[in-house]
């Protein structure tokens, strides 16, 4: 799956070899459920279709509050994949000095405490 970034939606790449989900950019789509619906479905299908280590990399610039509910469901899908016995590694990247994205990463980490979840800042 490859979705190109726009001014208000992130780039999303989901590859099977290697098994990796990368999301990066802005997230304030006009219709959150329309934009994220397919992504949530794809993540939820991983558990029945593949096995092995899943790497997740997220590097957002801004996420509006209504995107949070889609992001939460994506993390639920990722966590379900872990619960099926697979290794999962999440790296949440915030830009240097971006306290908002740093804190949001910490908030998701707090909500999904069983996930191997790293929040880091980069320049």
């Amino acid at each position: 799956m490859h979705i190109a970034a726009t001014d208000r939606t992130p780039a999303i790449d989901l590859t099977l070899t290697p098994l990796k989900l990368v999301m990066a950019g802005e997230s304030f789509p006009e219709d959150v459920s329309a934009f994220y619906g397919e992504v949530i479905t794809s993540i939820n299908q991983l558990v029945t279709n593949v096995q092995g280590k899943l790497e997740v990399e997220m590097a957002f610039v801004y996420i509006n509050s209504s995107s949070i509910k889609a992001m939460y469901r994506i993390f639920e899908g990722i966590d379900a994949y872990r619960q099926a016995g697979n290794e999962v590694q999440v790296v949440w990247k915030a830009e240097e000095d971006d306290d908002i994205m740093q804190e949001l990463g910490e908030d998701f980490k707090d909500r999904f405490q069983s996930l191997n979840f790293t929040v880091e800042q980069h320049g």
């Binding site: 509050s65 889609a70 908030d107």
Partner: protein, 173 residues
């Protein structure tokens, strides 16, 4: 409106340090357009950290107007931004149905009395329930605004008639 009244209005905007004022239909396109203008101004005048706080508060405030404006036949909202003594205040107001005010009042009262750590915990708890929230929002917008504002949020409700209430809230960064 005659021209002398236009002058009075302009003086009032100037005396109140208004840098952006809008009254009318609030659409998604309008939000993006105003956000771009605001961003340009912020990047020129502010540090990046503060700009992000201001941008986040603006977006959440205006999204509230878009979603809750749709519930009312007059889909009208007001956006005012003032800048004074290096503080930016974002005010968003709309007319809402009277029977929908109590839930909002309860929520605001909860947020109003909470410190930053409590607001963050309320936000985290809200994240877990965001997907159950009806409509396009997540139930996190007010918490997001309160979290990013550097002072407690303020708000007021003014009765219009037996069915409607004017609601306005302000957040300062």
């Amino acid at each position: 409106m005659d021209l002398s009244q236009a002058i009075l209005l302009r003086n009032s905007l100037r005396n109140n340090h208004v840098i952006m004022a809008y009254n009318g239909t609030v659409s998604d396109d309008l939000m993006v357009t105003l956000a771009d203008l605001l961003k340009e101004r912020l990047v020129a005048n502010d540090d990046v950290k503060r700009s992000k706080l201001i941008f986040a508060v603006f977006m959440e405030g205006v999204q509230n107007l878009i979603w809750h404006g749709k519930e009312h036949e007059e889909n009208m909202g007001m956006i005012l931004i003032t800048e004074h003594n290096k503080e930016i205040t974002i005010m968003c107001g709309n007319r809402i149905e009277k029977d929908k005010t109590q839930g909002l009042k309860d929520r605001l009262a909860q947020i109003e009395g909470a410190d930053k750590d409590t607001i963050r915990q309320m936000y985290r708890d809200g994240m877990s329930h965001a997907s159950e929230h009806e409509g396009p929002g997540s139930g996190l917008g007010l918490l997001e605004i309160a979290r990013r504002a550097t002072q407690p949020i303020s708000y007021t409700f003014v009765d219009v008639d037996e069915h409607s209430v004017d609601f306005i809230m302000a957040a300062t960064i």
